[in-house]
Amino acid sequence: MAEPALKEESREIFDEGLNRGIEKLTSEKIEQVINAVLEDETGARLKVYVDTCVHCGLCSEACHFYVSFREPRFSPAGKVKQTLWEMLKKKGKVSPEFIRRASEIASTECNLCKRCSMYCPFGIDVAYLMLVVRRICHKLGVTPQYIQDTAHSHSATFNQMWVKDDEWIDTLMWQEEEAQDEIPDLRIPLDKEGADVFYSVIGPEPKFRAQLIYQAAVIMDAAGINWTMPATPGWDNSDMCMYTGDNEMMGRLKKAHFESAMRLKAKRIVMGECGHAFRSIYDMGNRWLAWQMPPIPVTHAIEFYYELFREGKLKIARKYETPVTLHDPCNIVRGRGLHEMARYVVNEVCEEFVEMHPNREHNFCCSAGGGVINCGPPFRNKRVEGNKAKADQLFDAKARGAKTLIAPCHNCHGGLEDIIHHYGLGLELKFLGDIIYECMEKGQGSEM
């Protein structure tokens, strides 16, 4: 009924990508781009989703932004109303300021976590609709600065963090050397052809969390896995271009990643504890390239750990004593159903496991995923305050004894770190690999 409310608060956020991005826009350009994207790149799905929505608002409670702010504009359908409905109704005749706001909504107020698809009686895929909005904004050149910069890094270096080719290899060699202090004959085999496992990580691992590569190497070594890591671009499985709407770059990144594995004749790709990268490889990038399923099977770390424990390849020396709770990341739980495997691993490694509620497919998003944390500091407060729901959920788990929070996803990690800090929750945050590394029997299965 009413025009989408432009709240003062949201106007205040200055973002170079958004604010400068709309400077060059004209109404003709906006109209042309919106209609071109809607006409050329969308079809029955978008039409049916828009026609079928009965405006019932039942999706609202699914969204942590809505649950936290209790403002209708943060409900999933509310976000569609402020963006796509308006674009469709006005046949693309919207203002540059509207586009700025639409980009902000789609990129920073929706984590594309798909929880709402499970709350909509019709299974309307709001994440898909928000990606269409992001696509339009990308085509108009109005994308938040930080994530756009990341997309540029992807295009220039094929990784998320402007890591140069030599820096990547150097990091692997450095981690190998570090790990050899602990396990003298440990190797990180580079570019080894015909390995069973091609291990890929996301850009931030070599840049900020190199110990995760170290830990993965120790796990591979102990489990006696014939594995390799590539010494060429294509090592980074992450993909912010998927989230900026730069689908062409998304495809290019995934091609490089899969073809690195294919070049090395690896039988499967095992990837670190990252959610969005899994979505990109398993669900989005491969499809843009016309691979129905990943051409080389993709195994997420959780599934891999599960397999190693099930087959007895990894053994625990001493269980982790601190009570833990587990955050189910959207992209590998709603996106792959790994929640039971995660619980199996947690129970293998930890003494005491406290469920948080809701959990599994119904877990609340971390508010960092979907590229939101990658939109950077300007939107940090909104992201953290927009996830009071998560803080409540964590607080409840803490009240029931949990002291360590396991988040087997990089973005979740970043988001939850902020939430723990902001709300003073005092939980210790860990990857599953951190705990496995800490508790496992090391250096058992290495073979040359």
Binding site: E16, D149, S155, A156, P233, E248, A290, Q292
Partner: protein, 422 residues
């Protein structure tokens, strides 16, 4: 290709190295590699604390290094590895380290005949291409996608020409990348530059470029095609007339273009890795005629047989009459020649190799953890613990198998020449 006529083509098996014993000689032995002629087998070995070397046919190089990696034989049977010597990186070829030293070297490539070895190198935060120990005169902020001409005398790479800080998105979008050929930069900057190809006369370079965030095209020697596309894949020069072809995306579908103009009538859900027949008259490419169905198209006509998982590694026969590729269906790999898949399914299949007379196709495959060579759909030999790509004799009448037989301490590396005459 390197001339292989002077190799040992006598029928029979030769044991080259008792590779299983190497483990007793060194602290560790990395995965071995075999020379194209099969006469040599080598591996990176650890000789002491933080001390590495290379063992070839059972004898270690005299020199040791802080680190050795990426050990490969060149097409002319020289052994090259990337080595760190007293904290400086360079390339060692048959025990001889290059004179030029860098902070890091990577991505080594060989010319077709093996005489040229190129690497990417970094020194004092400047990046170079290096050809046979000679670095480019000028270094750049960043290089990627190093490409080497067939003669190995030229290198090209995507380079960053304009410095910018992280977060400067609008500066990036003005175009800060270009191509350097032997260190000389193209006149024009682009948003991005990716895969490059050299012409067959080594004189020209074509590259995938992005001229805005949304417009992709091919640039040849710095000049982009007039037409732009939704996306493009790696270009190639025609061996026949030097024109440039590339897969291009138009209206959400892929097709093939030459010098900017669409040349194939069909469009595909995907089209990439296009290849020319040796005479340049025919073109083949990996295509997906529809979503999730993969095959090869030769001159615009896709094979009828498709694979659900993937098709890859296309290769023309020397006479240009046949094309082979590997395909994967329901997690099983096979080789497909002219649209006819082999019955034999395996856990992995390597790029097929045609005999010089185009009569035979052979490929390395892996089944249940063992390796073998399959020729024309039939397994040639018993299983190996490791095997390398088969090599045909120049007359096409013999095939050289290089492999490791026996496990652990009993592992032996052998070369065997088999006759293909019935």
């Amino acid at each position: 290709m390197h001339d292989s006529s002077n190799w040992d083509w006598d029928i029979g098996k030769k044991q080259i190295a008792d590779i299983g014993k190497w483990k007793d000689m060194f602290e560790w032995v990395e995965e071995p590699c075999a020379s194209p002629d099969g006469e040599k087998v080598a591996a990176v070995v650890k000789t002491g604390d933080m001390e590495f070397s290379v063992c070839q046919n059972g004898a270690a190089w005299e020199n040791t290094f802080d680190k050795v990696w990426h050990l490969r034989f060149s097409p002319d049977n020289r052994l090259a590895g990337l080595v760190s010597d007293m904290g400086e990186w360079t390339v060692a070829v048959d025990e001889q380290a290059w004179e030029s030293r860098f902070e890091f070297v990577w991505n080594p490539q060989f010319s077709r005949d093996g005489s040229g070895i190129t690497v990417a190198a970094q020194k004092e935060r400047k990046y170079f291409g290096v050809i046979n120990d000679v670095p480019w005169e000028k270094g750049f902020f960043h290089i990627t996608n190093l490409a080497t001409s067939l003669d190995g005398k030229q290198t090209a790479a995507a380079i960053q020409t304009v410095p910018f800080s992280e977060g400067e998105i609008f500066k990036f979008q003005e175009g800060c990348y270009s191509v350097a050929v032997n260190g000389k930069t193209w006149d024009r900057n682009f948003i991005n530059v990716w895969d490059m190809a050299f012409s067959h006369d080594h004189e020209h370079v074509a590259a995938e470029v992005r001229t805005s965030l949304y417009d992709y095209t091919i640039a040849v020697d710095g000049v982009p095609w007039n037409e732009t596309f939704l996306s493009v894949w790696k270009p190639r020069f025609s061996p026949e007339d030097g024109s440039v072809t590339a897969p291009v995306r138009i209206g959400g579908k892929w097709t093939l273009a030459r010098n900017g103009k669409q040349i194939w009538n069909s469009s595909f859900a995907q089209l990439w890795h296009h290849i020319y027949s040796p005479d340049g008259k025919k073109l083949a490419a990996i295509v997906a005629p529809e979503f999730g169905k993969w095959t090869v198209a030769v001159d615009d006509i896709p094979w009828r047989h498709t694979f659900g998982d993937l098709a890859a590694d296309p290769v023309f026969s020397p006479d240009g009459k046949r094309v082979a590729c590997v395909g994967k269906e329901k997690e099983k790999w096979t080789v497909c020649v002219n649209g006819e898949p082999w019955n034999s399914m395996s856990d992995m299949a390597w790029k097929p190799v045609f005999s010089p007379d185009s009569k035979h196709v052979a490929a390395k495959v892996e089944k249940n953890g063992h390796y073998t060579i399959i020729m024309d759909g039939q397994a040639l030999k018993n299983d190996f613990e490791a095997v390398w790509d088969p090599v045909f004799s120049p007359d096409g009448e013999k095939i050289l198998i290089r492999g490791i037989e026996g496990k652990g301490d009993d592992a032996k590396y052998c070369r065997e020449v088999l006759s293909l005459k019935k």
